[in-house]
């Protein structure tokens, strides 16, 4: 019940913002919601299963390009093209994950990064299919009840609903045996194996789910901007997704959403600094990592504990894992 209330609050909050915000603010909010969908997905792979992946935006790109090609070349309805794109991406994630997920730690990070770079090179050069660096323009808008979702405000409602439904799904999974199995694999792979868990299967499932969420985000992006190019899905965006999750607080859906919103808006808030705003942005991110090792959710938890005056703290997700060196 608290869950449903939580996500109702999320929609209400966004809706309130949609009535008040400026057109530009709404555009950013839409981008934040789209990023949040992808980061909530990344939370399966990294937050729960502990897989450091830097390939999230490659899967977003796969979903977006599938949708763009099916709608502009074959004239499909986006409602039909999106599920096909998401399914194709999930298949690709599973196929890639099966061999790749034997790698651990920074090896997996670099392998997925290499994959993302490779996908970017193909997208920029396979001109007959992807349009090369010119990208694909003229992606049709989504129509809902006969009305096209073209304005920022209309799209925000739709994006928020998608985010709420997907977050609800994620949080149901978090509480299920499958969520617990993923976390068991993250905390101690050997112990998880000893209790009879199918470690490889669980990892691939988490990675596939994470890729599918990324594809949803990619489809949303394509339908929102109605134009995509390889730059929208470069490896830098994958690093940003992981940063959002870390800054928000890994292993937490609320944290994933908070991180996505904060890192989307923070550069804009810093624009008053003039040209040097990105330099300051980097320093602020470093400061968050140093002073809030468990992200924004760490802050929230400290606040909750202080308010209750009890010591029933949730076990720290990060402390449970070995640091780089002791």
């Amino acid at each position: 019940m608290r869950l449903v209330l939580g996500f109702a609050a999320l929609v209400a909050l966004g809706a309130a913002a949609s009535l008040a915000g400026s057109e530009y603010g709404l555009r950013l909010l839409n981008l934040a919601v789209i990023a949040a969908v992808s980061v909530v997905g990344l939370n399966f792979a990294f937050g729960y299963a502990g897989l450091i992946t830097l390939g999230q935006s490659a899967f977003a790109g796969l979903g977006a390009y599938s949708l763009a090609i099916l709608t502009t070349r074959l004239g499909w309805s986006p409602w039909l093209a999106a599920p096909v794109g998401i399914a194709l991406t999930a298949l690709a994630a599973a196929a890639v994950g099966l061999p790749l997920l034997r790698l651990k730690g920074h090896y997996l990070a670099l392998a997925t990064l290499g994959l993302n770079v490779s996908v970017g090179i193909v997208a920029a050069n396979w001109i007959e299919v992807t349009g090369g660096t010119n990208g694909i323009a003229g992606i049709p808008a989504l129509t809902l009840f006969g009305r096209p979702l073209t304005g920022e405000r209309a799209f925000l409602w739709f994006g928020l609903s998608v985010l709420a439904v997907l977050s609800l799904g994620a949080s149901l999974l978090h509480r299920s045996r499958y969520g617990r199995a993923m976390m068991a694999v993250r905390d101690d792979e050997t112990a998880a194996l000893m209790t009879g868990l199918d470690v490889t299967g669980i990892k691939v499932a988490a990675f596939t789910l994470s890729g599918a969420y990324a594809a949803v985000a990619g489809c949303l992006f394509a339908l929102h901007v109605q134009f995509i190019s390889p730059d929208d899905f470069g490896y830098a965006h994958s690093i940003t997704s992981l940063s959002m999750l870390i800054v928000g607080g890994e292993g937490s859906i609320t944290g994933a959403i908070l991180g996505a919103v904060l890192l989307t808006f923070l550069p804009e808030w810093l624009r008053f600094l003039g040209q040097g705003y990105l330099a300051f942005f980097g320093l602020m991110m470093l400061a968050i990592l140093i002073f809030l090792p468990r992200g924004l959710m760490g802050l929230v938890e400290t606040w909750q504990i202080r308010r209750r005056g009890t010591a029933e703290a949730r076990p720290a997700t990060r402390a449970a894992r070995p640091a780089v060196r002791s």
Partner: protein
Amino acid sequence: MADFLQLLTNGLALGSVYALAAIGFVIVYSATGVVNFAAGQFVMLGTFAGVATLNDAGWPLPVGYAGALVAMGLFGLLFYAAVYLPLRHSPVVTIIIGTVAIGITLQNAALLTFGSWPFRLVSPFEGMMVEVGGAQIPVHAIAVVLGTAGLIGLLWLLLNRTFLGMAMRAVAQDLRAARLMGLRVGALLAFTWVLAAILAGVAGLMLGPMWFADVNMGDPIALKAFAATIIGGFGSLPGAIAGGIFVGLTEVLGASYLSSAYKDLIAFGAMILFLLVRPQGIFGERIQDRA
């Protein structure tokens, strides 16, 4: 044949630069366990330290090179104190994101200082060519290959024949044991960062006259250095050299014989293939499962 010789030299020169960048990345990883995603920005800073001393201040070449490398050494020390020390107990992913964040800062700071126009760094061998088997080969490329080989030799002597180098290797093998043996671990780790920054600085100074230097050059170099490290073997110095040369050669030869659009796909494809088939790379990582 003449074309091939020319491409071979250029590929070796580019590979030498990647090898130096990869060595800087590897010695930091071996000693501290840090996967430094800002490694490419280190090379970019090296190039722009040269731009500052040679192009802007107009110092004579030897003084300018020395000044740029001293600046890089100080930068390594600063990085140790401001980024490594606060993050040293963090999980690997936090360190990755932290070094990315500081990389963004470095890149933007360079953009503010130098602007977005590309620079051309002068070479001591500006415009000089030698003819080998009918091919015109720039002396700068030959100097880069020989210089890198010399530097690697010096590094080998440092690590294997001096007390300082052996102490560094002891820290890399077992930090706690090294501390118990009375080694000044903090100072040794700081020196490792300084050394990595200086090597990146040399790579940047060598690269400056080969490419047009612009402030966005860091990321592509970092990606190539990562690929070199994986292909050669994570944590292995000979591996970083072999991997760097491999990546440089495939880039130059692949661009002219296969496809200039897909030239980078060869290096990253090889990297992923190595990860799948032989994750320890050509030379293998001595200390297993550090992650």
